[in-house]
Each structure stands twice: as structure tokens, then as C-alpha cells.
């Protein structure tokens, strides 16, 4: 370039050069603002859904609290009158749902400021439910299976993760077993009292309590089956239920086929064949 000594204008010094589009910082700013808006909207939606989750958990907790209160009242009213009328209705089925939702939050949204409060409320509901089950077991022939579990989320409990998997598995396998889990480090007097009742300390976590027995450390699924013999009878019950359900389904199928058979008289012979094979299954 021959006129380097002339700094202004910098370009267009030769015919082949052209003046570049000037650097427009405004456009950079606009692009930044649009991008930032998209980002902020995403953060807003994320918060919105997080709040919805908290609301969802709160409404489940309200439902459980209502269930428990209702059961207690029912209990007081009837005394020992009819165990039969309570055994199904008192069991709040929402506790397992709540447990899985709270553990999802513990894992994915651990910084949520509502979480400790939710866990405290949950722990209280668990204790109330546990006591109610105990009462029920004493007064009625109905024998609920309850497992208490204390864990820590700190790094001082290497086996807690494994234990949690075992209990989640049991929860899925035996929905009728009541598994109550407590964060050992939750600052709640009722949980502290539970710790005193079972004389636990934080060096022995995880701790699992079945009946009056306290177990420390990791317990495998097989060992859990030994510790809770009721699980075996539940296995049998499940198998029997499954067989009954299969039988009922087969019966239903054959009855629908026989109705279709009566409406279509033409294919009656072929239908009879299929009905007989259906029922033999």
C-alpha cells in the first residue's frame, strides 16, 4: 500500500478496495438485548415451573394432612367399633408420591429455599402416619408393615445412596409397605425426638428401623427380606392377586366373546373353538 502515511481514510486507498460496512455497535447491542431477553424468559419459565412444583407438593401435603386428621377423628369416634371400616380408608396413598417428588427435588433443585420447609412438613406427616399405623396395628387385626429410615445428604454417609436405592426398590415392589424416610440433619424437634427414642447418632448412618430392631449400615434387598418376614407373605399375596386378575381377565374375555357369539350366529362354530382355548389359558 503506497499511502500508508495517510491514516484517514484507512481504506479505499486503491481501486480494488472498497469501504467496508461500518462497525455498528447498536446492532451488537440489539442482538445482546434479544439474546438476554430469551435467556431471562427461560429463567422465568424455569422459576414458574419450580414454583408449580412446590405448590404441587404443598397441595399433596394438605391432602395427606387432611387424610390423617380424618382418620384420627374416625378412630376417636368409633374406638374399637369397626376395624373393617378403617383399614382401607385410613391409608393415605399419597405418601409414596410425595416421597418420590421430594427426592426428585432434592436431586434436581437442591437449592430451592422452600425445600427444607417442605421436608419438615413431610417428616411431621410421616411421624403422624406412623403413629396412626401403630395404633391401628394394636387395635385391629390389620398389621401394617412400617420401615423407618434415617439418612444424611452430607458426604459423611457413603452408604446412604445405596440404601436409598434399596428402599426405592422396595417401595415400588411393595406399595403397601409404609417406608418413612427422615433426613437426619433436618432441624426439627419431632425428628430429634425420634432420634432419641431409637438412640441414633450420626456416625451410624444409614439407619433402618423395623419394629423394635435398629439396623445400621447398608442392608441388601435379600437382608431386608430376612429382616421383614412380612415381605414374603406379601410376595405370595401378590402372586395370588396376579393369578386372580389373570383369571378374571380371561373370564371377561370369554364372556365378551360369548356375547359376540350370540349376536353373530353365523360363525358360531369357530367362536366356540376360540372360547375354549381362551378359557383354558
Amino acid at each position: 500500500m503506497n499511502n500508508d502515511q495517510n491514516p484517514n481514510p484507512p481504506h479505499h486507498t486503491e481501486p480494488h478496495q472498497h469501504v467496508r460496512a461500518p462497525f455498528e455497535w447498536q446492532k451488537y447491542l440489539i442482538a445482546f438485548l434479544i439474546t438476554a431477553t430469551i435467556f431471562l424468559s427461560a429463567v422465568y419459565f424455569n422459576n414458574y415451573f419450580d414454583n408449580k412444583r412446590v405448590e404441587n407438593i404443598k397441595s399433596i401435603q394438605d391432602q395427606i394432612s387432611l387424610d390423617i386428621l380424618s382418620s384420627e377423628t374416625q378412630f376417636d369416634l368409633l374406638k374399637e367399633a369397626t376395624c373393617k371400616s378403617v383399614d382401607d380408608s385410613v391409608l393415605s396413598q399419597e405418601l409414596n408420591t410425595l416421597a418420590s417428588k421430594l427426592s426428585y427435588m432434592e436431586e434436581n433443585d437442591s437449592t430451592n429455599t422452600d425445600l427444607p420447609q417442605l421436608k419438615k412438613y413431610y417428616s411431621l406427616l410421616e411421624i403422624k402416619d406412623f403413629l396412626l399405623m401403630k395404633q391401628l396395628g394394636q387395635r385391629c387385626p390389620f398389621k401394617p408393615v412400617s420401615i423407618l429410615y434415617f439418612y444424611s445428604q452430607k458426604s459423611d454417609c457413603p452408604n446412604c445412596e445405596k440404601m436409598a436405592y434399596v428402599l426405592t426398590y422396595l417401595r415400588q415392589q411393595y406399595p403397601e409397605v409404609r417406608i418413612y424416610s427422615f433426613d437426619y440433619n433436618l432441624n426439627l424437634s419431632a425428628v430429634d425426638t425420634m432420634k432419641k427414642v431409637y438412640s441414633l447418632n450420626d456416625t451410624e448412618l444409614p439407619a433402618v428401623i423395623v419394629g423394635d430392631n435398629v439396623y445400621h449400615g447398608f442392608i441388601s434387598v435379600d437382608d431386608m427380606r430376612k429382616a421383614v418376614p412380612e415381605l414374603k407373605s406379601l410376595d405370595k399375596k401378590h402372586a395370588a392377586d396376579a393369578a386372580a386378575a389373570a383369571k378374571e381377565a380371561a373370564q371377561q374375555a370369554s364372556s365378551t366373546q360369548s356375547t359376540s357369539q350370540s349376536s353373530t350366529s353365523k360363525n358360531s362354530t369357530s367362536n366356540t373353538n376360540s372360547t375354549s382355548t381362551g378359557s383354558s389359558n
Partner: protein, 434 residues
Amino acid sequence: MDISIVPILATITGSVTYVALFGALYFQVFLLITFIEKRKTFRAEEHFLDKRNSDKKLGISNESLDYPSATVIVPCFNEEKTVEGTIRSLLQLDYPKDKLKILIINDGSKDNTGKVIDTFSGNPQIEIYHKENGGKYTALNFGLSKTHTEIVGCLDADSYADSQALKIIASYFDDKSVMAVTPSVVINHSRNVLRQIQKAEYNLGIFVRKVLGMIDAIHVTPGPFSFFRREVFEIIGNYKHAHNTEDLEVAFRMQKHHMKIVNAHKAFVYTVGPNTVKKLYRQRVRWTSGFLANLVDYREMIFKKKYGDLGMLILPMTIFTIGTTLIVIGLSIINFVISLHKEFVKLESVGMQLKMPSFNFDWFFMNTSAIVIIALGLWLLTAAVIVSGQRIGTGKTRITIDVFYFLLLYSFIAPFWLIKSVYNTTFSKTAPWR
């Protein structure tokens, strides 16, 4: 494994992913608002092309006066199978015969390429040269030494030009400030998934190159059918080896000399995309390594206001994108290992669970983190850009399956050549020519 490291790692991964997503989103938003800003110029350009076309039909224009004399250089090395098709596509170009010269340079082929091209020797438009093998850039320079037409371009012997391509490209040279014109490169035969992915990628490229042309930021003049004023090479010199990517380097060099490069989006050239992952990987490693090596050579252009958007945004952005992508890949691998370890612990604790837990949909367990929402937004924007590229080129606005293939699979295959290219650039000594 110490549990306490997991949340820290998650935080780092999250932050880097946010930064990477912000950059990627910013770039796309920038391209889109540039396109919207320049839409009037774009429409005028389309109108001009239409008018020129109809004038020709009405016989208003005198073709021989209208079009510049042109040369197409076809460098070939072991291309006996495709070179004939390439030459035929050139002979079928709709361009005044007295103004078009075709130079076929046999760069020391070991196969029958020489014999195949010699069959064209009687054609008055065609000149054939055989030379010692020296690499593509030497073949191009040899061709340049044999021609003095107003514009000169090149066509790789594995590509085919659309019959209207040269006319459209030539009309862009009406503007005296235009020094080079790039075409729209389209993938031919896109039946298998890998080529479908490339089809979407090339459509994305059509849009990006068009917008880059609008802001004087084109940094590659693709080997197939880019055209230059002959004087470009007289001013800035001939092709260089340039880490096997001479088509990238010449664009960098032109930009450094403030020469105007524009994109002729309606001028199609068809190229055959690699049909296997291995071939694609090799091609991309060559491109990306070449780009990075040339970027290192021309690093003084980065963050220089006098190079406009190219210096201030486009070049820095490529470094940023490659850098953040590599970090995100690294962290993803670590996180993947951690989650594998978790699964292992689970397996160790409860054994194989044959009974799958029943799946019932609950929005509660849906991932609604900001990162997922932003990534979804980025996907939608990318799909929009691909469709825009298709619309700019072919005029069709249709979402076809290749867009989905691209969005689903590209981010899984691109990291491989990215890593290898960065490795090449970092550890192999690049040969400086200055």
C-alpha cells in the same frame, strides 16, 4: 468417589453451558437481525436477477456485450470417474461460447484421468494441460498463468455446475467493487442419513454465507465454482498451499486487503457429499484444521475494527464456539461417567431389576431447567435458519426430514472432527510462509 465434588462439577457444567448457549444464540440472533435489516437490499438483488433474466428472454440485452469473459479451471487428480460429468456440466453452461474458456489441468493423475480429458481435445472452448503432480494449488496457479479473461473461477472435478450458475455469478460483477462471488453449494443425491444431515447443513450454510456476504465477512470462497476478477491474483498474488485449504486462505487474504466478496445465492453448484462417516470425518478434519491454521496465520485480523464485523464478531465467534464446545464436551463426558457410576451403584445395591417401573406421565418430573428451555429455543432458531437457507436458495419453504436428522445427530458427530482439528492445530507445527 467423593460425593461433594458432584454438585461443584454440576455448577461448573451449568455455567459453561450457559455461556456456550448464550454465544450460540447471540450469533444466530445477530445473523437473523442482519438479514432483516438488509432485506430491502436482498429484495432489490432478487428483482435485479429476475429483470436480467426476462430482458434476456425479450432480447433486450446484447449477451456478448453484457457478460465478462470467463475462465473455469478444472484441476483434476485421479478423478477418472467424475471428471467427464464435470466437464459436460461446464459445456452445458448457458453462457456466450466466445466468452467462456475451460482449462483442464491434469495434476499428474495416476489413473485414466489423462485419457478421459484428452477425449475433449478437439473442443474450441477447452484447453487441456498435463503437469507434474504438485497439489491442487499448483494446478490452480498453472491455470491462472494460462488465462487473461476478466473473471476466473474453479470447479472441482467432483462437482457439477447448474446451467444458469455462471450467468448469475457474472451478473454480480456488474458492480465494479465486487472482486469475488461465491455460489450456493448444494448436496447432490441426499438419500442416506449422513447426506441428509449434510443437506441441512449446506442449507444452513446458504443462509449464513448470504448474511456474511451482506456484512463483508465471507471467509471462504468454496473450491467449487467461486469466481474472482483476474486482477485479484495480480494484486494479492496466487494461490498458496495454505494447509490444504487454499480456498479458505484466498478469502482471508482478500478480506485482509478489503476486497469485496459477495454470495450469489441463486447460482447452484452440486457437490457429492461423503457417504460414510469415515470420509466425512476426514473431509471435516481437513476443513476445520485448515480453517484453524489459517485463522492462526491471520490472527491479527481478530478484534480489529477496520475489518468490520468479520474482525469484531465472526472470527472471534468461531474461536469462542470451538472453545466452549470443547469444554462442554469434556464436562459432558465427566458427567456421563458420574451418572454411569451412579447406575453401577444402583445395580450393586438392588441387582438387575427385571420389572420396569410403570411409566405414568407426570409433568412434575419433566426437566424444565432454563438450560433445556434455551437449548430448545436454539434448536427452533436453527431449524428456522435452515428453512430460510432453503427458501433463499430454492424458494421452497418446507420442513423436511433432514432438518430433524441434523438437529438430532449433528452435535454427536461434529465434536469428533472438532477435537481432532484442534489437536492438529495445537500440536503440529504449522508451516508459516511469511
